[in-house]
Point group: C2
Chain length 226, copies 2
DNA sequence: AAGACACAGTGTACGGTAGACACAGTTTCA
DNA sequence: TGAAACTGTGTCTACCGTACACTGTGTCTT
């Protein structure tokens, strides 16, 4: 049983033996709850098992190892992709809605960022999200590779905004960058200036909005040139 | 001694006691070598210490913990930011050169992606990179927050491309997505189509190029509207 | 009906991890 | 010439993922 099978294979009830007391779904949910409340570092086989009232070795009956549990958590947390087809106005408002939905999701589960770096197996929900985004672009005059590149750019934007928000949260910026910039302002004049000017509109949704509109503008311009 | 001090404080030679046999720089370099060769998972205090010929506890004389060592590795691997002022043509070619330079860097040290998720302290080199990018935008008609948003969008694009490349490397795509799409093509028709069409031009630099040009187009359009 | 079989959850054990702490040796300052 | 400050070492603890043997349970086959 590998990660692929855990994510994509359906689990028929076993023919013989005692009934399983858990399901992979419950396992994933327990992990997600733990990660939401205490961060990804708190997700250990021990604690997940505790939350479900079994010993940690019991979890290995459902999942071959921790990596696969995390993968399962990610795909479960991602959930069903949103329906976009009812949104009027073509690909642009649809992609915007898609991006916002994923942004909200990632903000609700910030640990998912850390859990989705490096090589991993794509789960059904995650692939469903990609499918929806590509569906929004179905009529656009670009080849498939370029459509995929647009989707990649959007996910990159989401991640970047959330990570920047994590880096520059109120207390961090106060005791981090500010501490540096106070003593070394002459070495980073542009950073100092940019930070000073951005004090006013500090909402992170605004940062997402701005970058997102630039990307969509760029795509629109590209399409209008074809 | 916290992460901030490790990254930003200079370490004067101690007044008394035996000479330190190492420097924080050597520590960082040993960690980087290890991570480059065997991945971030191979970086343990034990193995870093071994590579330097000391016991693992000796490393704690230079660095308060592993997190700080990783932060140091990241900032060291990032290195001095490239000089952009000599590049003609205004902010756009400069930002493009900046992005390409960072892309090359991240490809040379793929572990840096995993090491730069979540809350962390920004080091001097990393801040220097941001400074250079903002410098390229110094004359642009945007406020500082928007300039910062552009930089964030560019870093997001770099990360997204590299992670996508890791996910969809040749063998992974063959035994991962392809395996799914073969049996469930009807569920993900747009993904199937996009992947088929993108078979031809599979170079990842092309993916970076495309997304990057869209972003820069979007920024340019925004500036032309001001 | 009864045994064989497949499976679930438990308990124990192991190698590896980060890091705390006490200690011995070394260099410099008072 | 101590005393003080500092380095690297050895030992120890708590925790991690996970391998493996075992007991108990439900079902299929004879």
């Amino acid at each position: 049983m590998d990660a692929f099978e855990v994510l994509w294979g359906e689990r028929g009830a076993p023919r013989r033996g005692p009934r399983p007391t858990l399901t992979v779904g419950e396992l994933a949910k327990a992990g997600i709850d733990l990660a939401d409340r205490e961060g990804l570092g708190a997700v250990t086989m021990q604690r997940v098992a505790e939350a479900l009232g079994v010993t940690k070795m019991a979890t290995y009956r459902y999942v071959p190892g921790k990596d696969e549990l995390i993968a399962l958590m990610v795909d479960t947390a991602m959930g069903e992709p949103p329906e976009l087809s009812h949104i009027d106005g073509g690909w642009r408002p649809q992609l915007k809605a898609w991006t916002m939905a994923m942004f909200d999701l990632m903000r609700a589960h910030p640990w998912a960022l850390r859990a989705t770096v490096g090589r991993r197996v794509t789960g059904p929900n995650e692939l469903g999200w990609v499918e929806k985004a590509l569906g929004a672009l179905a009529e656009a005059r670009m080849d498939g590779g370029q459509k995929m590149d647009v989707v990649v750019a959007l996910t990159g934007q989401i991640r970047a905004i959330i990570e920047q928000a994590a880096d520059t949260s109120e207390e961090d910026i106060a005791e981090g960058w500010a501490k540096v910039l106070a003593t070394r302002a002459e070495r980073f004049p542009h950073v100092v200036k940019a930070l000073a000017e951005s004090e006013q509109h500090k909402s992170r949704d605004q940062g997402l909005e701005f970058g997102l509109e630039r990307i969509l503008d760029g795509v629109e311009l590209y399409l209008s040139r074809q």
